[in-house]
Amino acid sequence: MNAKSLRPKILIVDDSEIVCDSVSTMLEPRGYDVVSLTSLFAFTQTLATERPDLVLVDVSMPALNGDKLIEISRKHHDNRYKMVLFSNRGEAELSTLATKCGAAGYIQKTGDAERLAREVELFLHPGR
């Protein structure tokens, strides 16, 4: 849990503002703080300053694919941050990508707020 607040903090990294804003709209009323990044420019700095409880990373981004970003990030930060792939790709492909890059797993993009919150919660509290 984030030290500054009892609300879990989610960092969403996606080059689409619509996706980032939709995630905020769905999760904030359900008790999460959401921070968005639409470019990778300040990714490392944002991790350090925001210290998110969970990072949702889009797979297909212009500068660097999300799986590569997670792979590189894990080399620098070990397992300090829990990162999952966030994509509209198929489950089989996402599962393979997540295993290869060392992500904690994946969440498929959805407009179903309950489902999204449920899946986020599973990563935050796997034992529940």
Partner: protein, 109 residues
């Protein structure tokens, strides 16, 4: 909730998708299949977030066609290009149907 999301973001989605589709057409004309696939993937992802299944499905098929085109040999390239053109047309139709069925399509959310 999905109605709330659509109310907030559909006008922006319609506008952004028009821009994405215009870019997709020029990428298609320029033969840049990998960037075209990325553009269509982004469109599909945004449609998924608003639970716009038809647009998302068509955009995803177009993305698959663009990826096939980018990997096609000289022999099969023409066929893949034609499939891609067809898929782009369908995406355009789906977006058009969405824009005429959604009120306040060009206004602020």
């Amino acid at each position: 909730m999905i109605e709330d999301l659509r109310r907030r973001f559909l006008p922006r989605f319609v506008e952004t998708s028009r821009e994405r589709l215009a870019r997709a057409h020029s990428l298609f004309e320029g033969g840049d299949a990998p960037t075209l696939a990325h553009e269509l993937h982004a469109l599909a992802g945004e449609a998924m977030m608003l639970d716009l299944g038809a647009v998302a499905d068509h955009a995803r098929l177009a993305e698959v066609a663009a990826r096939a085109w980018s990997k096609a040999s000289e022999d099969s390239g023409g066929c893949s290009r034609a499939a891609c053109a067809h898929c782009l047309e369908i995406v355009g139709q789906a977006l058009h149907a969405l824009s005429i069925s959604s009120p306040n399509q060009s206004g602020a959310p």
